[in-house]
Amino acid sequence: MANKSVWSDNRFWQRSATWVTGFASILLIWLTLDTSAQISMGNDEDLKNGVQKRVPGPTVINYKITYEMDAKRGHEVPVIGEKEKFFGRDDYSEEEAGALLHLGKLGEQAKNCMDCHTILGNGAYYAPDLTKAWIDPAWGPEGAMQALTGKNTKEEAMAEFLQHPDQYPTHARMMPDLGITAKEAKGLVAFLKHMSSIDTNGFPRNFGKMQGAVNGK
């Protein structure tokens, strides 16, 4: 055969395809294992010893969570600070906090929050993104929601709103009354507080600058 080019040779393409497919498979399996390690939940010990985890343990609800600009990383990161009372307590055990988060997660699934809201990048944008709802300035001491619901703390204001959203029409797109009980509301608020402590690489973008935001924009 005269001057057969490598480019038109089947074996070259077969071997290249085998290499690329094989390498990519190994890489993806490795990436999956790497990601699993990164998103594994921390525990109470980590929180007490200041070990940073992307997903802190459930007892993070005992602490104050703020969203601060990290100049090095170029975006905001949740910062776990001093102890802070959550529904009057700051000594939830790992089991208690875990049970609350579980209740909140079940509630979130049962009431299908994602029909309207976004949670950790999943869901809809009909209603505000809930990923960092706990650190939304609207629920803080300077925000309108505590005065509106007549409560003195963030968690009580949130729980009150969740139980009677139709009484506090803050948006043109009013949240319907989903029949959330007081117990479920407590779980949901714990779930939201824990979620806001998750390091999401600055997602949603520029969240902390949304002071005075209108309609969640």
Binding site: R15, W19, F23
Partner: protein
């Protein structure tokens, strides 16, 4: 070219992802270099077949 590591949890992929395009350049390099090697092996084989 080499920035201090800024990820929360240190990892190989995090290390590769500290600058613009560093992960992409790395992956393209490790995928394409063996293909060049395969190319010359096949070229040699075709020449020997002649």
């Amino acid at each position: 070219m080499f920035e201090p590591f800024t990820d929360v949890v240190p990892s190989f992929f995090g290390m590769l992802n500290q600058g613009p395009l560093t992960l992409t350049i790395f992956l393209h390099t490790v995928i394409i270099l063996p293909m060049i090697w395969i190319y010359f092996q096949e070229k040699k084989r075709l020449e020997n077949e002649k």
